[in-house]
């Protein structure tokens, strides 16, 4: 190799090193702004997800009583349970409620199935608890056609004669306001008398081809008797069917119906009909549930915990960076950049996985900020030894990374194994912590082994005796 080609390849090599370093700096800066934008923009698609202890709200944990259920059916029934509870919570009007199932881990002796309901922003759980524990109410009521017709007429008149509406609000029958009259009279027949309910498709009825999904219900013997009696006494009338106080349908009674079965139709789609059938046939819920634990955190409290945690993170992190720059000088600056990228990458992952941030997770994150420098410190200490032995700074950097690798690897693998075990055994709270911990380990390794390394290798190659200024920059501690 001639001398000339050696210098050219050295120049290209240097250019490539610097290009790589600049590319990394650019990418990290971009990521930082991106994360910041996501966090501050309220309309962002992937903001930070805050756990209930930070956002404020309530968490209810229910245990499902599966003692009387065939184990094969459990998963399906638990899914139905979740759907039903989800619907009830939605009626309740909480923004972004979360309902999920939790099966017992293999550690516990007994199999248990749990349902967790999270209600962000709700601190008074009384109403929610009542709503969740509610039995869907199926009622059969007779329609008083006279009243209904009168009300309809009044409504029609009011609609056609706007402006004179005030006069029409006083229409009376037998001295009673039509508006106040209830056209439906209770029959005493309710879902309590149900024996089973199932999804059917109404076939070829009345010459019409229809495939409307309906729910066919079967009464128990008492209910059947009541139903026969009602239908016998009210032939020609309309029997209205209500679910949770909402009118589903009001079919006409054509004849006395004995045998104790009836069809509920109400323009369902198949999914709704199946759900209703399931709801009804299992009475209240597919599986009886019992409230195991409740937790509520006030919204201001959560915000305060979050603010203080962030403050601690920023303050602690700032001190760590100052220490690194003070002690390790130029490599310390490199470590600072690597740590800033560590934070940017971690926060980006929190946003995109997404990781639900809890007080515990936040504490784990703050802890990881202190520990993430470890790989850098290990490398820098090795570098120092190599420089002392007379090597150039670049060779020393490469050697430092190679020699510190064993310790970095073994230390991080044990930590990673711990994180996996935690994730495996843990309850949801521990899982969050384990996830933050595990991600932190991987990213801190990446930031030290890739980012720090690329940046260090882009720095000029100097020897101890070459320049006192550069050798000061590569020195460390209180020494000159």
């Amino acid at each position: 190799m001639t001398n000339k080609s050696q210098t050219t390849s050295l120049a290209t090599d240097n250019f490539l090193r610097i290009f790589k370093a600049v590319a990394i700096l650019g990418a990290i800066t971009w990521l930082g702004f991106f994360v910041y934008g996501n966090a501050t923009n309220p309309d962002s698609n992937s903001p930070f997800k805050l756990g209930l202890d930070l956002a404020g709200g309530a968490q209810l944990v229910y245990e499902a009583d599966i003692s009387k259920i065939d184990p094969v059916e459990i998963p399906a029934l638990m899914n139905v349970l979740r759907d039903v509870i989800e619907q009830r919570i939605n009626i309740f009007g909480v923004s972004e409620p979360v309902v999920y199932l939790q099966s017992s881990s293999f550690v516990s002796d007994e199999r248990s199935e749990r349902l967790v309901v999270e209600l962000p922003g709700v601190t008074d759980v009384a109403q929610a608890v009542a709503e969740i524990g509610r039995t869907p109410l199926l009622e059969f009521k007779l329609l008083d056609r006279q009243v209904a017709a009168a009300q309809e007429q009044v409504l029609a008149l009011q609609a056609s004669a706007t402006g004179t509406g005030a006069l029409l609000s006083n229409v009376q029958i037998d001295g009673e306001l039509v508006d106040d009259m209830n056209p439906y009279t209770d029959t005493g027949l309710t879902g309590r008398y149900l024996e089973s309910a199932q999804l059917e498709f109404a076939g070829n009825q009345g010459g019409q081809l229809s495939n409307e999904p309906v729910v066919s219900i079967t009464f128990d013997s008492e209910g059947a008797e009541l139903f026969t009696q009602i239908t016998r006494n009210n032939v020609g009338e309309q029997l209205a069917i209500f679910l949770d106080g909402e009118l589903l349908s009001a079919p006409r009674i054509n004849e006395a119906i004995s045998g104790g079965t009836a069809i509920i139709s109400g323009g369902f789609d198949p999914k709704e009909a199946r759900l209703l059938a399931q709801n009804l046939s299992f009475g209240a819920l597919p599986v009886p549930i019992e409230l195991l634990s409740t937790q509520t955190v006030g919204a201001t409290l959560g915000q305060e915990v979050l603010d203080k945690g962030m403050e601690a993170a920023v303050f602690g992190f700032g001190l760590v960076l100052l220490f690194m720059i003070f002690w390790y000088r130029l490599p310390g600056v490199v470590a600072t950049i690597a740590l800033l990228s560590y934070v940017a990458i971690i926060l980006a992952l929190f946003q995109f996985i997404p990781v639900v941030l809890t007080a515990a997770g936040l504490a784990g994150f703050v802890l990881s900020l202190g520990m993430a420098v470890d790989a850098n410190v290990l490398v820098f200490e090795r570098m120092k030894e190599e420089i002392r032995s007379g090597k150039g700074s670049r060779v020393a950097a490469v050697e430092g990374f190679n020699r510190a690798w064993g310790a970095i690897r073994d230390g991080n693998i044990t930590s990673l194994l711990s994180a996996i075990i935690l994730f495996w055994f843990g309850t949801s709270m521990v899982k969050g912590f384990a996830l933050v911990f595990g991600i932190g380990i991987l990213i801190s390794m990446f930031s030290a082994l890739f980012i720090s390394r690329s940046l260090l290798e882009a720095l000029p190659d100097v020897k101890k005796e070459d320049s006192p200024f550069w050798s000061f920059l590569f020195g460390s501690g209180l020494l000159k």
């Binding site: 634990s293 602690g316 220490f323 230390g411 711990s418 521990v430 911990f437």
Partner: protein, 325 residues
């Protein structure tokens, strides 16, 4: 290296700490929070001056919900209030308790309510024990595996064993502090405490491994190989025998010297963030930070002043035994 020279002192000091911690924990015990014991915790705060504690106590006695304790506390914003711990409450009991607690002072507000049934408490206890045992087990296996082939004079299982002893030391110290604080200030252990302990485990192992890794490297650098061929029934076996060119003590001693700056610097940065968390962070994570601060201090001490001295003590003991044979 001074820790090697005065190793008896350092090891005995560490052992004294272990024994002392065990004594403290078994004497005072750890106060189980509701996470583990089951029960309900209600935090109520007031806008104006704190009402008399006895008002609240008599109100709660009237509710007839069993045994309870009332502690004065402060919420994150700095408002004064009480923490009421009772047995696990039903929904209606929660409502009556809330009403009673809010009624005794002006601007009363329940900021936090947690109720944990006995089932979950038991389960969390089991899981915590499993998690800690599992992590410790995996660590000793990994260390024994990673250092396999380190060979003479000390087998890799000894490195694993010492790591575990150090783990016990590092975990017992913070636990003892919390035990004392339990008596003095009513501090209870909860799931966060277990997480802190697990984090201490991770930190401690990492610290110890760095030292052992350096010992391994120095051992490899300071030994000579001799191949021994044996011919057993026509099959040639080749064995490599290593001889150390320096005394084991010296090799281990230089490993400590080479890693001490790293041990101190990493623990410094970790302590800095933890101290910030303790003083600035919310009160929810204060105990967590404290456990870790004590744990990191213990971990740094043990990795410098326990790991290598124990290694040498064991090597000497082993050598002495071999001579006797």
């Amino acid at each position: 290296m001074f820790v090697i020279r005065y190793r008896k002192f350092f090891v005995l000091f560490a052992l004294a700490l272990i024994v002392g911690s065990i004594a403290i924990i078994s004497f005072f015990g750890l106060r189980l929070g509701i996470d583990f014991a089951g029960g309900s915790l209600t935090e109520v705060v007031y806008n104006t001056t704190l009402p008399d504690k006895s008002f609240l106590e008599s109100e709660i006695t009237n509710l007839d919900i069993g045994n309870f304790t009332v502690r004065e506390s402060q919420d994150e914003v700095g408002r004064d209030g009480f923490l009421v711990r009772t047995r696990s409450l039903t929904e209606s009991e929660r409502e009556t308790l809330t009403a009673a607690a809010v009624s005794i002072g002006e601007g009363g507000e329940v900021t936090r309510f947690t109720s944990i049934g006995p089932v979950i408490g038991q389960e969390l206890r089991d899981k915590s024990v499993w998690a800690i045992t599992g992590v410790a087990l995996i660590i000793v296996l990994y260390v024994a595996f990673a250092f396999a082939g380190i060979g003479k004079p000390v087998s890799s299982w000894v490195y694993g064993g010492i790591t575990i002893l150090i783990l016990i030391h590092d975990v017992l110290l913070p636990a003892a502090i919390i035990s004392i604080l339990g008596v003095v200030a009513g501090v209870e252990i909860d799931v966060l405490f277990v997480m802190a302990i697990l984090a201490v485990l991770g930190y401690s192992v990492n610290d110890t491994i760095v030292v052992f890794d350096r010992v391994r490297e120095n051992l490899i650098q300071n030994r000579t190989e001799k191949k021994i061929k044996t011919n057993v029934a026509g099959v040639v076996n080749e064995e490599i025998e290593y001889t150390l060119t320096k005394p084991f003590e010296e090799i281990v001693g230089s490993a400590v010297t080479q890693t001490i700056a790293r041990s101190i610097n990493t623990s410094l940065t970790t302590l800095v963030t933890l101290t910030a968390l303790y003083f600035i962070g919310g009160s929810v994570t204060q105990t967590f930070a404290l456990v870790l601060i004590v744990g990191v201090l213990a971990g740094t001490y043990s990795s410098i002043a326990m790991a290598s001295p124990l290694l040498i003590t064991y090597a000497k003991w082993q050598a002495g035994r071999e001579v006797k044979k």
